[in-house]
């Protein structure tokens, strides 16, 4: 379907990650094209989150390359990734329970703001103007995502679904060109999941932001993703459109195996 000539936005080549002898990822390669909604799926412990941790420079791969818009991502520090145009949402929330929602979004604006200690301390003038502008931006983003009524509430006091949405808003506030969504609907009810899927489709159609999502929920992935990458035990076992991967025998095997594991450990 996708044209062959199109240059990928993100190119991942032969990424291998090891922890103390344990191989978390083994020679993983894939391309993500501009505007795509790309999904990474796989059973528990397949290496999905490890892969995200490579893309956001939390884990250092022992081998391989990652290029984003022709730029070598592995040369950047963790905090420079946002500036390069990649934002990420968190799988587990609760890191910032006391932060008010609006301040949380402003954290997303951090890399687009300039004030340091001196400017911030003096406040009057440059810092005040910058705060005003970015607050306005975040407030509109909150309004767009229906989070306005909660702007001063500490994140930890919100229901889980709204926290996830606030986290997505924070990632969008960075004005990314690539959005990494780490299990965006995990722990959500059906209705909340559908809301979020709708937002993701809007983000792609209306903002043209490329998205990679790591997800457990097969039904959701198959419904909205353009292409799917399937990981198992740190290896790529299949890659293609949802229909293609669903029919792939190795994928079916991996998932059947997972169900047995799930049954043994009780979920």
């Amino acid at each position: 379907m996708t044209s062959v000539a199109q240059t990928p936005l993100l190119a991942v080549r032969d990424i291998t990650v090891r922890f103390a002898g344990l191989t978390a990822l083994s020679e993983v390669s894939f391309d993500v094209l501009p505007g795509e909604l790309f999904a990474i799926i796989g059973p528990n412990g397949a290496g999905k989150t490890s892969l995200f941790n490579v893309l956001s420079r939390v884990y250092r791969p022992v081998a391989g390359q990652v290029t984003f818009e022709g730029r070598d991502l592995l040369r950047l520090r963790t905090d420079q990734i946002v500036g390069a145009g990649i934002a990420r949402t968190f799988q587990n929330l609760g890191q910032f329970p006391y932060t008010p929602v609006l301040d949380y979004l402003l954290l997303g604006r951090h890399s687009r703001m300039r004030s340091g200690i001196m400017r911030g301390g003096v406040y009057v003038g440059l810092a005040a103007a910058e705060e005003r502008e970015n607050r306005a931006y975040c407030l509109r983003l909150l309004a767009l995502l229906g989070l306005e009524p909660y702007r001063d509430r500490p994140l930890g006091s919100l229901p889980f679904g709204l926290q996830k949405r606030a986290d997505l808003a924070r990632a969008l506030a960075t004005q990314p060109r690539l959005l990494l969504l780490d299990e965006p609907v995990a722990g959500m009810g059906l209705e909340e999941s559908q809301d979020l899927a709708a937002i993701m489709l809007d983000v792609r159609e209306q903002l043209g932001i490329t998205q990679i999502l790591v997800e457990h929920d097969m039904a959701m992935v198959m419904g909205i993703a353009d292409r799917v990458l399937v990981l198992d035990f740190g290896r790529v076992i299949a890659q293609g459109t949802p229909a293609e991967t669903q029919a792939d025998p190795s994928v079916i095997r991996a998932y059947l195996g997972e169900e047995q594991v799930d049954a043994n450990t009780g979920g």
């Binding site: 922890f19 989150t49 941790n53 939390v58 884990y59 968190f90 799988q91 587990n92």
Partner: protein, 299 residues
């Protein structure tokens, strides 16, 4: 050469005291990931009780030590039960701070109780008694502290290795959730850790006080025990053999610099900072100590 052997011996003796103090930290940290800043004052309280029991109540050395151990075990277990139990899941910062609060309390309590008339320092032998071999004086208290430390290490090893509770403690240290799932009562493990640590603190404190050669009980004992911090950092917070090795190394560094600083070019009191300088050097090279384990970031 005689001076060197003398210093090596004193260093080993002091190092064994530090090893005991360091063990106290490590046991608590391994079991519950709590850094007990008040460990130094546990030493102080224990030694004060022993001292009072010996000199005011005329108890013998051994009953007095048992009494001291009883008090520190009790304080440790009560503090764990009443305060720390409620702080599970709070950030490490908060937990360290709460033990600093306990540190202030214990230190001040002992300061007030001692008042202006200090009791004598407790020791198993007279502080000047020693065996002299080839011009080197082997103090009996120093010898005793080395022997006792070795005995405690062996006992601790046997306890962790061969008893049910020791196994429970090791399992909890590796994976608390899994240990709980296996039916281990975490609260028992915590209480045990604080109890053992409190008991060791009294023994370490008595030998530290005896080793200092000061005939009078000194309220600064807990402060002196802070040198065990470089020891546990050297060893890595979560390693029991590391604590022992770190303690001995720091003891040697302390005594050797003290012995040779008389030459003067390093100024007064250089030995008070030499353990910290060694620690900083080690941390520059290995941020998790010599035997410690690095944690993988999870997000």
């Amino acid at each position: 050469m005689t001076l060197f052997i003398q210093l090596m011996f004193s260093g080993l003796a002091l190092g064994s005291d530090y090893a005991l103090i360091a063990l106290g930290f490590t046991i608590i940290f391994k079991a519950s990931e709590v850094i007990n800043f008040a460990q130094g004052e546990f030493l102080l309280v224990g030694t004060f009780v022993v001292s009072t029991a010996m000199f005011s109540w005329r108890l013998g050395f051994f009953p007095a030590v048992l009494l001291g151990m009883g008090v520190t075990v009790l304080i440790g277990v009560i503090f764990e039960r009443v305060v720390l139990r409620r702080m599970i899941g709070r950030p490490p910062f908060t937990i360290i701070m709460v033990t600093i609060g306990l540190d202030v309390l214990l230190l001040t309590a002992v300061t007030i109780l001692v008042g202006s008339n200090s009791p004598g320092a407790p020791a198993p032998f007279d502080i000047v008694s020693a065996i002299t071999v080839g011009g080197v004086k082997f103090g009996l208290n120093a010898l005793a502290s080395i022997v006792i430390t070795i005995l405690i290490c062996v006992a601790l090893y046997a306890f962790l290795r061969y008893t049910r509770y020791g196994l429970a403690m090791r399992a909890t240290a590796i994976d608390q959730e899994a240990a709980r799932a296996m039916g281990i009562r975490i609260s028992t493990v915590y209480a045990l850790a604080w109890g053992i640590s409190g008991a060791i603190a009294t023994i370490g404190g008595v030998f530290l006080a005896a080793g200092a050669g000061n005939p009078v009980f000194d309220v600064g004992l807990g402060q002196g025990a802070l040198v065990a911090f470089p020891a546990i950092i050297l060893g890595g917070l979560d390693s029991i053999p590391g604590a022992v090795v770190g303690g001995v190394v720091i003891g040697l560094v302390y005594v050797l610099t003290q012995g040779y600083e008389a030459s003067g070019f390093l100024g007064v009191n250089f030995h008070t900072i030499s353990p910290y300088l060694v620690m900083i050097l080690v941390l520059l090279i290995r941020p998790y100590g010599l035997f410690g384990t690095r944690k993988v970031e999870r997000i």
